[in-house]
Symmetry: C2
Subunit: 184 residues, 2 copies
DNA sequence: TGACGATGTATCGGGCCGATACATCGTGCG
DNA sequence: CGCACGATGTATCGGCCCGATACATCGTCA
C-alpha cells in the first residue's frame, strides 16, 4: 500500500480504538521503517504499466520485507505493561488473527487484570471520596465503573472462547500476503 | 495546593478519563500558568508557622488568582470540536458543577452528536466491510459500537435531566474557595 | 540503623499531533 | 465548457505531552 491508503486501512481496522494516524507520524514512520529494512518502497505500483501522459504524481508503494514480517510477529507476541493500556491492547487485539492462541490468552488476561485494577480503584473512590466529590464527578466515576465491569465481562467471554477452542481464529495464523483482505 | 497534591487530586477527579498527568507536563505547566498570572505561588503553606528544625524541602503552594478564575470559567464555557473528544469532554464534564445549565446542555449535545457520528461510522464498517475484516477485528468493532450505543443512552439521560431541572447541580454554580471539597 | 515506599520538585529526549503547503484527480453544477 | 470543490496523495514544522530519570525528604517497619 501507499501511505494514504495505509492510513485509511488502519483507521477502519482500529475503529474506536484511536483516531487516524496523523501525517506528521505516518510519513516519517514509513521512512524509519524503510531505513530499518522492515519495509521496501517502490515509486509506482506494478500494475501501472502504461506510462502516464502528464507528469505523474509521486506515489510511493510500500511492501513489508521478510525481516519486517519477523519483527512484526515479535512485536505482536510480546506483552509488556503498555500492551494492556487502552491503546496498546486495542492495537494488539486488532491483529489477533496474526498471533497464536497462547499469546492471545496472555494478552487477554493481562488486559483483564489491568481493567480489574482500574475497577477497584474506581470502587475505592466511590466508597471513600463520595462525600468529597460533586454530583457530576461521581456520575463520571459511575459511568467509568460501569464501562470497566462491561469490559471485564467481555474479556472473560473472549478468554472462555479461547480456552474452549471456540475462538474466532485457529491456532496457526494464516500467511496472507494479499492486502485488503485479512481472512479470505 | 502544591503540584504533587494537584496531580493526585486531578487523577481522582478524572477517574477513567485519563491517566495522571506526567511530571514533564505538570511542573512546566504550573510555571506557565504562574507566568500568565493565572495562579500565584508561595514557598510554604500558611499553616506552616513553626520554623523547620532541619532545612525544609522546597514545597511550592499554588493558588488561583482572580484573573485565573475568569480564564478558567471561560475555558469551561467554551465549546469547540476538541470539547467533544473523549479527553476534552471528560475534562469538561468533570467540572460541570462549575458551569451553568446552558453550557452543560450545549456540551452534552455536542458530545452526543460526536458519538452518534462515530456510531454510524462503525455501523457502516460492519455493514460494508464485514467480509473484508477478520473475526477479531469485527469483534472489536462490535464492542466499540456497543460502547457508543451505551454512551448515547447515558448522554440522553443526562440531557433529559438537565432539561427537566433534575440535574445534579443547580443553575448557578457555587463559589467554593475551599480546596478538597467541590460541593459541601 | 538502614531499607523501603510515599512524597516532592525538576529536567531532558523523543514521539505524536495539528496545521499547513502543494499538487492531482473525479465529479457535479452553472 | 469551465471551474469550484472535495477526495487523494506526499511532506514538513512547531509545539505539546509523556516516560525516564535524578535528587532529596519523610514516615515506618524490621
Amino acid at each position: 500500500m501507499h501511505g494514504y491508503e495505509l492510513r485509511k486501512e488502519l483507521a477502519t481496522k482500529l475503529g474506536t480504538i484511536r483516531a487516524a494516524i496523523s501525517y506528521g507520524t505516518l510519513y516519517p514512520t514509513l521512512k524509519r521503517l524503510q531505513t530499518a529494512g522492515w519495509i521496501g518502497a517502490a515509486e509506482t505500483p506494478d500494475s501501472e504499466i502504461i506510462p502516464p501522459l502528464t507528469s505523474r504524481r509521486g506515489r510511493v508503494v510500500y511492501k513489508i520485507t521478510a525481516e519486517g514480517k519477523e519483527r512484526f510477529a515479535d512485536l505482536l507476541a510480546q506483552a509488556g505493561p503498555e500492551t494492556y493500556d487502552d491503546a496498546g491492547f486495542g492495537v494488539h487485539f486488532a491483529f489477533f488473527s496474526r498471533t497464536d492462541r497462547a499469546t492471545r490468552l496472555r494478552i487477554l488476561e493481562g488486559r483483564r487484570r489491568r481493567i480489574e485494577e482500574r475497577r477497584e480503584g474506581l470502587r475505592d473512590v466511590l466508597a471513600r471520596a463520595s462525600d468529597r466529590l460533586d454530583a457530576y464527578t461521581l456520575e463520571l466515576q459511575r459511568h467509568g465503573l460501569d464501562a470497566c465491569e462491561r469490559e471485564v465481562r467481555w474479556l472473560e467471554e473472549l478468554i472462555t472462547n479461547e480456552r474452549s477452542g471456540r475462538s474466532p481464529a485457529g491456532d496457526t495464523p494464516p500467511e496472507d500476503p494479499r492486502p485488503h483482505q485479512d481472512r479470505p
